[in-house]
Amino acid sequence: MRYEFKVALRYLASSKFQTVLLVGGVGVGVLIFSFMTALINGLTQFQIDQTVGSIPHVVIEPKEREPRVLPSDHSGTEVLAAVQRGTVQREQIRFWQNALETVENDPATRVAVPVVAGNALVTRGQVVEPVSITGVRPEHLSEVAAIAPAIVAGTANLDLDGVLIGARLAHNLSVEVGQPVVIRSDRGRERTVKVRGIFSIGIESLDERVAYMNFKSAKALLDLDHGISRIEVKLKDLDSAASAAQAFAGATGLKATAWPEKNKRLFDAIQGQNSTGGLIKFFAIVTIVIGVASALLLTSVRRKPEIGIMRSMGVTKGFVTKVFVLQGVLVGIMGALVGAPAAYGFCALLADVARRPDGTPIIPVDPAQGNYLAGIALATIASAIAAILPARAAAKVDPVEAINL
């Protein structure tokens, strides 16, 4: 293989312009591959941070009670029954501390947050607005919602007498930070709290209809002295949501739902985006194969007399094949080693420069997720595969015809 390597290298060195073009072509293919990978992964991460990042990966809720159908006294008689969900008992997780501990101790869990939730009316003077109350422990607020970075007035402080409301609701109530409002829950309990912070997420329904309270205050307000509404779980690995949900359900006996199930459209959109990215990457690799194959095919035609003379000297077909495949491999490696750093530099530049005044990315590319090693390996393999056809054509050269004997 040593001598074949020398001949392959000599061939590439002798056609410098063609080799530079080939290496450049493979480099561009790798650049596209890695850039698309960094872009799709970055975009997915961005979407997750913007959406899934602020929603739980798994939600653990009370199990829905299945209404029972009582057996008929008359055996063999078919019974038709209309069933209706029970409304006698309120849905809540009782003895939630055990379930919380079980989930917290699971190795897949990053954090598990007990949440109480319910509906209420918030009143200031004559203005009454409906809100959805979410009660969490102060240290868990950022796990439940990205409120802290969205605060436009006051702080994200969830003390026992405080509430955080959206900017739209604050406007409707004409209330400012530090002013009191009265909140009356759908369980008939009432509490006066002060607005500690006003947030603006940018989604009108959230900015107008959501309020965050301290966990204990909310429990009392919503009359959930012995239970909670749900446990929201953030996982270490987002992709393990389905299996983790299954494990949690089994361990706690509660209903556990993974985020893709609760956010099917979002999940489908991310999946579709990944598939599109995969398709573009596939075509980038196909471009490498076509480019390398056609260039080496031309080389095999151009070098036909030389191949013929080699064959007349008793050089085997295997030798000729190896020389051409090695050219493909060398072009692939060189192109990949040019393309991968170029892709990283391009992605880093985009990530650094292409930002809005508020710092959010215009193109959410993540240079760390370019999968550069895969790009290098795929380009090399693709180039080697691309060289097989020209190599076979070269090996088949008839020496008599090539030398014009």
Partner: protein
């Protein structure tokens, strides 16, 4: 190195024995019979010219003898080995070790130096340019008068020099037979004389058998024996002054 070669050959045993060789080219429904029953022997150390008008079948005969083309029928043996129906892999290996070629055009590899070109037949089959291979190539280049130019790129040599490198390359693996197809056809008179002189000297020194196809009566006149092919058959040889052996 020469594992395909029997231990020795007696002087009276032909190096190459050709019997009733036919070669027919088929293109579509058209069949062209180029060789029509060629038979002759070549002996070790002979310098033989292959004569005949253009299109008579000389090049086809050289291709068959060089194991580059298979005859349609007939039989030929070299060093006692029947090559007529041998497998291609075996023929390739046999060619590498036993047959050298010199063509009308030098066909040097343009990206390689003179010495790399000479080393090629051995290096390509022995896994690389070993010291022994390099030493022999340097010796051959010195023998053909190109010792000072061995590291010149092939493209930097004159036509006559290139052809002398081609001669050295043909001798690299110590072949028993060198087939030369119009080796001086592309050279000026002076270079042609030099190359032919060289072939004759090497033949005398090493005992390598040469079969040289030529139209040049002066070249043919230097050979020990003449084989004439006319219309695919062995024909009458015109009278040439016999060269001193």
């Amino acid at each position: 190195m020469n594992s395909l070669i029997p231990p020795s050959n007696d002087a009276g045993t032909p190096l190459l024995s050709v019997r009733d060789i036919f070669k027919t080219y088929v293109q579509g429904e058209v069949e062209t019979e180029v060789l029509k029953g060629i038979s002759f022997d070549l002996f070790r150390g002979e310098l033989v010219s292959l004569l005949g008008p253009s299109g008579s079948g000389k090049s086809t005969l050289l291709s068959v003898l060089g194991t580059l083309l298979r005859p349609t029928s007939g039989r030929f043996t070299m060093r006692g080995i029947d090559l007529t129906g041998a497998a291609e892999v075996m023929l390739t290996a046999f060619r590498n070790r036993n047959i050298g070629f010199v063509f009308q055009y030098h066909h040097l590899l343009p990206d390689f130096t003179a010495i790399e070109n000479v080393m090629f037949p051995a290096a390509a089959t022995d896994g690389g340019e070993t010291d022994a291979i390099e030493e022999r190539a340097a010796m051959l280049l010195a023998r053909v008068g190109l010792g000072a130019r061995m590291h010149f790129k092939a493209t930097k040599l004159s036509g006559g020099q290139k052809q002398r490198v081609a001669v050295a390359r043909a001798l690299m693996n110590r072949p028993a037979l060198v087939l030369a197809d119009e080796p001086t056809g592309n050279l000026d008179r002076e270079s042609a004389e030099q190359v032919m002189e060289l072939l004759a000297e090497i033949n005398a020194e090493s005992g390598t058998t040469f079969l040289i196809s030529t139209h040049d009566p002066d070249i043919a006149a230097r050979c020990h024996r003449h084989i004439t092919v006319i219309d695919g058959r062995i024909g009458e040889t015109p009278p040439f002054p016999r060269a001193a052996a």
